[in-house]
Amino acid sequence: MDFGGINPVILLASLMVASTPILLAALGEMVTEKSGVLNLGVEGMMITGAVCGFIAAVETGSPTLGFVAAALGGMALSMLFAILTQIFLTTQVPAGLALTLMGLGLASLLGQNYVGIKPPSLPDLHVPLLQDIPFLGPILFQHDAVVYLSLLSVVAIWAFLKFTRAGLVLRAVGENHAAAHALGYKVKLVRFAAIGFGGAMAGLGGAYISLVRVPQWTDGITAGIGWIALAIVVFASWRAGRVLIGAYLFGGITVLQLNLQAAGAKVPVELLSMSPFLATILVLVVISARRHGASNAPAMLGRIFHSS
């Protein structure tokens, strides 16, 4: 069942793998932004997670511990951002950019002795019965736990924001921090938590690249995925379901263009390489343009909160 040297089953299965890091990072950033904080340090937190996860997995031999370390590493870096922006009230955009630059350097330093090592691999979970469904089984039900975790997160975050009181408070803080403060909610505490969650998710996403997708350690392994995650949050109008669409679209076209390159398609390689970025942004713009012009951005996004 090949089309021009491309097997659709393998293509679709690897699509899910390729999309998972973006999905994780974008979901985390979406929650952070919903609380009114713009953290441009996603790329830095991802690569910090990638290197922390890689080191922990190699040293302990356990990929699970690797992912735990990745989440903690990403969260630790995000706490630095939280302290800067929430306590010292620095402007969020430069603080986030600094976080990315620092994360890239830190990861490079920590990973020096780990280049060329193969990490322990994460076992695939074969879902009984479902994996035997022809065509769909191999695509959907033979992945590792993190892929399922990321999909679960989409539903969990959607439900958290829509149905729980904590989610409502988080949105309220992102919408009007002065009013939330006047009603007695702890704006800074909420934002610390949201920033930390964003950092942990970015760390997980980074580790998925270094432990599963690639899997090895090289400098700059995240290769701009953090930036596309940021863009996806915006173009997905801060909705979990659309973040999923955006991430899978990007991952899908990435995999497709790699396959096309391998199959020797007669299209310039540069054009193929830029196609995922182009197509993803295009599709999400079209989706979000339909909603009577409203951007749906949290009103306090990037604004500094002085409690006085």
Binding site: L168, R171, A172, L183
Partner: protein
């Protein structure tokens, strides 16, 4: 009628001002009690203490006869005290039910909450759809959201801070019906306003505050608006220290000006006419929000008006912007210091350049002469005794009173032909206020015409030659300030309403 809330000797001091000084009053169960006073009389500070947003420096409160000292708004809400804010504390992107839930301690499930919002809002004649996004609602509907949020918690005392300031007359009627229904069910209401007619229509008792002190209590149902205004402004208005009439040529003439501001909550100016002569001080009184900001913007050139509406020395200047008007000698100092009169993060030197470049010739070929600008800033600081480390300090680092002196000084030292000021001494201590008034009088003595808009009637009586009052966007005919009685001022400011009603 049993006593619900009793306030004894509440005192609250801010740096440089005693906002509340030994304030005592009480509210009975099911009473609608008015808190009456001019701007800055300390009404807001008092209710903030009752709602737990501020803590008193001295004094005690009792609710239902037992001690009441809320640490925060949550504690106040738990004790049965709810408040509808003057500036709404709503979340525009969230829907009505979510907004209501955020203001409750233990909200029920969303579906039940939506049902009870429908029920309560219908019950009280304030229909609301719980699923609508608050950002799409009108000002009146937004206020309903706040009220419903309070009502769902079954409050014993409902505090309303200037609730009618953003409402249409029809909406005010609906609101009053709701409040009367609440009253009949035994809820007490503390109603803050300076609109005397509303208070006469609604309230059972009134406490009148002036400069942080209780100056009187009355039954508004039997007291006239005139005598309440008397109590608000005090009996002892200063005798004007200047004679009216020794003024020169007509400088400024406004005839039949109609103006609708861009801001939807602004006040429309209706058929405003005034004449200003050289050397004359025209004082304009009236409660806040009756068109003061709009009048200033029309005179300063921030807002353009129709042809022929604003005449300066016989020339039509209606189409000129602020800089063109500065050039011919019309200057203005608006009320809002940070962000309107001065750029908060810029230094005093830079702020001096912002309005004085043209008249003080601070630039050449579009390059600023910073040396000259700094000298001018120093001149203002010296002449007006502005307390600051130097002209390099940021405007926001100055205290309100010092910045006010700088802003007024900047305009006065440019030797304008016409100066329009709004609230020239708001938040300024007494001695500095006297200095500012003296500077304004000196400017007039040098032949300039002044329009002084203020809510401080003592101030207006002290410096004005003529006095007029703004009332819902209309300006009364100016009258000589000398010999004007408190009665007459009260009538000009708002008492005129009930005269119209009486004539019908």
């Amino acid at each position: 009628m049993t006593e619900l809330l009793k306030v004894v000797g509440l005192t609250r001091e801010y740096p440089g001002v005693r906002a509340n000084d030994d304030v005592s009053f009480s509210i009975g169960t099911g009473e609608v009690h008015a808190l009456l006073g001019e701007n800055g009389a300390g009404k807001s500070t008092l209710v903030k203490m009752i709602y737990g947003l501020e803590k008193p420096d001295a004094g005690t409160m009792q609710l239902h006869g037992s001690s009441y000292a809320p640490q925060n708004p949550q504690a106040a809400r738990a004790a049965g005290v709810a408040m509808v804010f003057q500036h709404f504390s709503l979340f525009e992107a969230l829907n009505v039910a979510e907004n209501v839930a955020l203001g409750m301690e233990n909200p029920p499930k969303m579906r039940e909450l939506a049902a009870s919002i429908r029920e309560v809002s219908e019950n009280y004649g304030l229909p609301l759809d719980p699923d609508r996004i608050v950002g799409d609602l009108s000002a009146g509907e937004r206020q309903r959201v706040e009220i419903i949020r309070c009502l769902l918690q079954d409050p014993k005392l409902l505090i309303m801070d200037e609730p009618t300031s953003v409402l249409t007359p029809q909406e005010v009627e609906i609101l009053f019906k709701t409040l009367r229904k609440l009253q009949s069910e035994g809820t007490s209401i503390l109603y803050i306003s300076h609109k005397l007619e509303e208070i006469r229509a609604l309230c059972d008792g009134a406490t009148i505050l002036r400069l942080g002190k209780v100056v009187g209590e009355c039954d508004p149902k039997v007291t006239t608006a005139r005598s309440m205004a008397e109590m608000m402004v005090g009996q002892t208005l200063h005798v004007p220290s200047r004679e009216g009439g020794e003024t020169g040529n007509v400088l400024l003439e406004v005839k039949g000006l109609d103006f609708a501001p861009a801001n939807p909550f602004g006040t429309k100016l209706k058929n405003v006419s005034l004449t200003l002569r050289a050397g004359e001080v025209l004082g304009i009184g009236g409660v806040a929000g009756n068109g003061q900001d709009e009048l200033l913007s029309v005179l300063s050139g921030e807002a353009r008006t129709g042809k022929g509406a604003v005449m300066f020395e016989g020339q039509d200047v209606s189409h000129l912007g602020p800089n063109a008007r500065r050039k011919i000698g019309i200057l203005a100092a608006p009320e809002e210091r940070l962000g309107h009169a001065a750029a908060p993060n810029m230094s005093l030197t830079e702020n001096a350049a912002l309005t004085a470049t043209i008249r003080k010739k601070l630039s050449k070929n579009n390059f600023l002469n910073w040396k000259k600008t700094e000298d001018f800033a120093r001149e203002i600081i010296k002449a007006f005794d502005v307390r600051t480390p130097g002209p390099g300090s940021a405007a926001r680092s100055l205290s309100g009173g010092n910045l006010q002196k700088f802003v007024i000084g900047r305009e006065v030292l440019q030797e304008p032909k016409i100066l329009v000021v709004n609230q020239p001494t708001w938040g300024v201590d007494a001695s500095a206020a006297a200095d500012i008034r003296q500077a304004l009088l000196d400017l007039a003595a040098r032949g300039a015409g002044l329009v002084v808009i203020s809510q401080d009637l003592d101030e207006l009586m002290e410096i004005s030659d003529h006095f007029a009052a703004l009332n819902e966007g209309t300006l009364t005919a100016p009258r000589p300030a000398k010999g004007l009685t408190v009665d007459e001022i009260g009538l000009m400011m708002g008492g005129a309403h009930d005269m119209e009603v009486a004539e019908l």
